[in-house]
Symmetry: C2
Subunit: 186 residues, 2 copies
DNA sequence: TGCAGCATGTAATTTGTTACATGATTAA
DNA sequence: TTAATCATGTAACAAATTACATGCTGCA
């Protein structure tokens, strides 16, 4: 039985190309903006992904010569590519995985000095602020062009980041000595 | 310059052993319960991690013979292991990564039939329910033994999952034809 | 003078997943 | 009798990260 595919870097690149032809460099920008909060990919996976899609006829490559720079390679999705993408989208239970070294670290907060814990929490809040700002910016610049799915996804990101920020702010006191002595004496 | 380590499977296993000696099989249970919402690891990474920690003197292995079953190998953290763990915890900016094939799929919802979108959303809510229940159960059974960090982490998981559930329930209507025709006619 | 941006790619390495391999005990 | 739990591990594979490699343009 042939199962429906997974949304790996290849397939996400293919999906991005349904919005219009683009180069690997262009796709990287999407991974750094709209997709940044839930799907990471660097040139080291994007370029091989596009080559492989090309070999398999999922995309066509248009080489645009440039002076000085390497040829700009603009990829267009093909009919086969669309079919393949639709198949990948058929998976009824796509995963949503979290891999958090932050939480793994906080599990052992009792082994850390308070100042160190505070730094870790502050850096997490900075990260939240970064993503919140970034999503708001991309929304402001191009949300009107987006299909409903992308709006849903951007809103999802904002909601999750906001929840993270709120939780960290409201519960960080649980992690420090101050609170330990308070609960011991209070 | 020697940078502070990362919280990979090895290091998380080492951290788990600060709670008391345990076997690979025991650690797997932690990965399936308390750590499940933010750190995945299977036997294929746990056993090699423990072997490698043993070789490097981070842990000692106590072999307990059993009838029928293979020897139970119980690992104890050593002083060097503790030093190494503390070093790993020094990273002031531990990452929190999301890899979501669910959101990647929803980006292309406009290419999917409504029924398919609904299935994907329902499966996501089921996943939320699973994690919520699981965290509540482990909290009920052993939260009193936990250091504050673990309580913080469990609460974090519940808050994030709750936020996800709420967002999906309140915004799923944005993704279907029904809403598209409503907004076109309304 | 130097850095950021444009623009591509490969190769080595790291990391983790999946499948394979074994086999007793116990409860439904 | 059949599935789950206990209990370990390896080998092949997949996937992605990092470092390497090149080189022009334009801004500060």
């Amino acid at each position: 039985m042939e199962t429906s595919g997974t949304m790996d870097v290849r397939t996400v690149c293919l999906g991005m190309l349904t919005d219009g032809a683009a180069s690997g460099y262009d796709l990287k920008k999407h991974f750094e903006s709209t997709f940044a909060h839930f799907f990471a990919a660097g040139y080291g996976s994007i370029y091989p992904a596009l080559s492989s899609l090309c070999e398999q006829g999922m995309v066509n490559c248009e080489c645009i010569p440039q002076d000085g720079k390497p040829d700009r390679k603009v990829y267009h999705i093909t009919a086969e590519g669309r079919t393949f993408l639709l198949k990948a989208l058929e998976n009824p239970t796509p995963c949503h995985k979290v891999r958090s070294e932050f939480l793994a670290t906080m599990c052992f907060a009792h082994l850390m000095p308070d100042a160190q814990i505070e730094k870790v929490l502050d850096s997490r809040l900075e990260d939240c602020a970064y993503y919140t700002k970034m999503i708001s910016e991309v929304e402001a610049s191009c949300m009107q062009d987006w299909p409903p799915g992308k709006r849903f996804v951007a809103g999802f990101g904002k909601a999750m980041i906001e929840a993270m920020k709120t939780y960290v702010e409201e519960n960080r006191h649980l992690l420090t000595e101050e609170s330990a002595s308070k609960s011991a004496t209070g």
